[in-house]
Amino acid sequence: MLTDLLGPHAGFIVASYAITIAVVAGLIAWVVVDHGAQKRRLADLEARGVRRRSAARPVDRESAA
């Protein structure tokens, strides 16, 4: 049936699109999962009171006032 639609080399065409979809899905999953992991690590460190100097500055000013 697929060969009726896409000719005798339907398998090659379908495989090309399937691999492309899989690789693009993998790239999207990589950026999404990595973002979640970095945000969690950052939140964990900040919850333990570790702050970047630039992020800590406004707090310091408030406490000084």
């Binding site: 005798p8 973002h35 950052l42």
Partner: protein
């Protein structure tokens, strides 16, 4: 332009820009790719290749992006070495896995196109071999960044290696003109204009724009992740220093 580049040197400002731009870019990418696929479905089969020509609509954009991404990394390497832009190394490092993925797609879809059309999965001709070298360059750079833990120490050797590898870009582009290859010569970007019929050229260009938008979106997201990873590392070092 100089002001905007200077403004982007601030990673926090850059992250804010990414958060604003990505939803629009992702939407535009999806719309362009859907439009390209719709045009591809309506495009006619090739008079020689038949329906197999449909592999072209993903193979060619993937191949273009394999080179475009490396060109972007070359510009980023110059940014690291010449201007020492804080985000240049972040840009190069974030682009490498994306470039490797598109190069892998170009090689695999090319192979899947070559088998029914040329009768072979692979030949060691100049175009295929130089693209394989590009793929190995991407993997080598990813390995380099993973080997040197401190990103500031990895930045310069990676930038030098990227610049050395950029010699391969004109070799890939002109390999089909300089040597006798099984791969066909350029049929879109030619001095005398494209040799592809408009009914196939339009969906090909729309797919290429869609792939490029997708690459830009993924690159911005990967850069955001890399900025966050470096913040996590910096905070981890503060914690380690405090524990001593």
């Amino acid at each position: 332009m100089a002001i905007s580049i200077t403004a982007l040197a601030n990673p926090t400002r850059f992250l804010g820009l990414v958060d604003k731009a990505v939803p629009w870019l992702a939407g535009l990418t999806a719309l362009t790719l859907l439009g390209g696929l719709a045009l591809m479905v309506q495009s006619p089969p090739d008079y020689q290749q038949g329906e197999t020509v449909r592999i072209m609509y993903i193979h060619v954009p993937a191949a273009w992006l394999s080179m475009f991404t490396y060109a972007l990394m070359t510009a980023s390497a110059l940014g690291t070495l010449v201007w020492r832009h804080p985000l240049a190394d972040v840009s190069a490092k974030a682009a490498a896995p994306i470039g490797a993925a598109f190069t892998f797609l170009a090689l695999v879809t090319g192979s899947l196109w070559g088998k029914p059309m040329w009768g072979t999965w692979w030949v060691w001709d100049a175009r295929l071999t130089s693209v394989l070298v590009l793929f190995i360059m991407y993997l080598g750079l990813i390995a380099l960044w993973r080997t040197i833990e401190d990103p500031t120490r990895a930045a310069r050797p990676a930038a030098v290696l990227i610049l050395v590898g950029s010699v391969n870009l004109p070799i890939i582009k002109f390999s089909v003109d300089w040597w006798n290859t099984l791969h066909q010569p350029a049929s879109v970007f030619r001095m005398d204009g494209p040799t592809i019929d408009g009914s196939m050229l339009t969906p090909l260009l729309v797919m290429a724009i869609g792939f490029t938008l997708m690459m830009v979106t993924l690159h911005l997201l990967a850069m955001r992740n890399e900025v966050l990873r470096r913040r996590v590392r910096a905070l981890g070092l503060i914690t380690a220093g405090g524990a001593r």
